[in-house]
Subunit: 290 residues, 2 copies
Amino acid sequence: MTGAFIAIDWGTTNRRIYLIVQGRVVRSERDDTGALAMAGAGYHEAIAAIRAEYGDLPVLMAGMVGSSLGWSDAGYVGLPAAIPELAGGLHRIDPRTAIVPGLCIDNRDRTDVMRGEEVQLLGAVAKGLVPRDAWLCQPGTHCKWAEVSDGRITNFITAMSGELFALLRQSGVLAHHLTGPVADNDAFAHGVAEGAGRDLAASLFSVRSLGVLGKLPDGDASSYASGILIGSDVACRLRKIGAAPVHILADAELGGLYRRAVLMLGGKATLVDSHAAFVAGITAIWDMSQ
Amino acid sequence: MTGAFIAIDWGTTNRRIYLIVQGRVVRSERDDTGALAMAGAGYHEAIAAIRAEYGDLPVLMAGMVGSSLGWSDAGYVGLPAAIPELAGGLHRIDPRTAIVPGLCIDNRDRTDVMRGEEVQLLGAVAKGLVPRDAWLCQPGTHCKWAEVSDGRITNFITAMSGELFALLRQSGVLAHHLTGPVADNDAFAHGVAEGAGRDLAASLFSVRSLGVLGKLPDGDASSYASGILIGSDVACRLRKIGAAPVHILADAELGGLYRRAVLMLGGKATLVDSHAAFVAGITAIWDMSQ
């Protein structure tokens, strides 16, 4: 573990800053100055302010900061990919400031992209939090499912389940039903069973019909709708994954919902510390790029 | 065909007023004073204004005007249902002003509701625009698929495909890709094939990845995304419908897109004049209620 550096997990809506010394986090902070809030400007000043606060150290970033909507397009690396490919593909703003590239699949029959999640996924592998041959799941706005073979990401797929949920809560016919919190309860399990039919646009309308017919209290509607979206996502993925264990990188709440759905639909699942995985991943990239 | 009356197809966002004399439309007008714009008030005054304009005649309404968000809740009739059940279940505001009830499925394992579409569906049957045993499809914000047996609706299912498309265009990560019009072109067909995999939340993300990787011009993205949503809806339905013909009630544009998807995915489809179907349905209900 070489020296000290500042790592920034700079996403669309949030960023988390880490001061990492000899592979250990000695300070960390999260705020809502995501790439959207930056609106494409002021990155040099923001980095200067962070260095003034954390020390005049090299900075290594990952996430939407490296997209066309962020600071500077860090490009994508193809599959299979592991830490060496990310370290070898760093996008350097200047000799002491760099952004980790994303990953892409760009075949004739299928495309997909990720940006930011690759550090966490490969960090979990590097730190031994998951086996070197495994399926990983990273729930969120855009849920990523990645296949790791011999320690390298060989395949992945993105389902925008979290974003669909957010859009449905925001406006439209279901919005006024979906004001409550999501809980791992009977309504969630009912939603998972409904979603497993892989008829998402019809299943979602049942939130409305059950509500109108007085069979789903609004307090349960968010859990039921979340169950539909997660159940549909998991059912699609288990067709490929089968009974191999799914390693879920997420906080306990969202990770727990995905775990429940995987178990309900006949799969196996374990939770992994996603925070530790990011730190391991960005440190491994840093070490290899020195 | 008994006398003259005013029919109003009063939906969520629009209303269409018809003056029907001896079963023939002698005047018709459409505006955007839907139930949302009414905000639950001023219905008595609105009807008085229509009578001042069209004549002091009985008024028969259908659609969201009869929901809890409209003028007055007209309730739901269970299945199987045909014109007599709707005519027998009219919700009377006063002796000369009534609202057609909706239809519902309220079983232990499945619920669904419709309000407004039933008039058009059963009007198509009453006028002989479709066979008395048929599958009908009514695309729109909430696409309705109804099974008609011996002239009665015995089953239906709602897919909120149109609403999902509207939400995705409104905000979120796909919105800035989806600014163009939808056309029945190669991008639409590509979307239908993708959507047929019934993995909707993942297929929709391909709008983003194809765009980011420069393989889908923004001008084609709306057609591709619409193809995914319609293809997914049609693929789910054809599992039940098989090779029986689907009778599509819609304008030529949206109806044509559904027809293309049904044909692409191995089904049969014909287009039906939805405007004539509504007039036939509301007139049949009117006649039977006299």
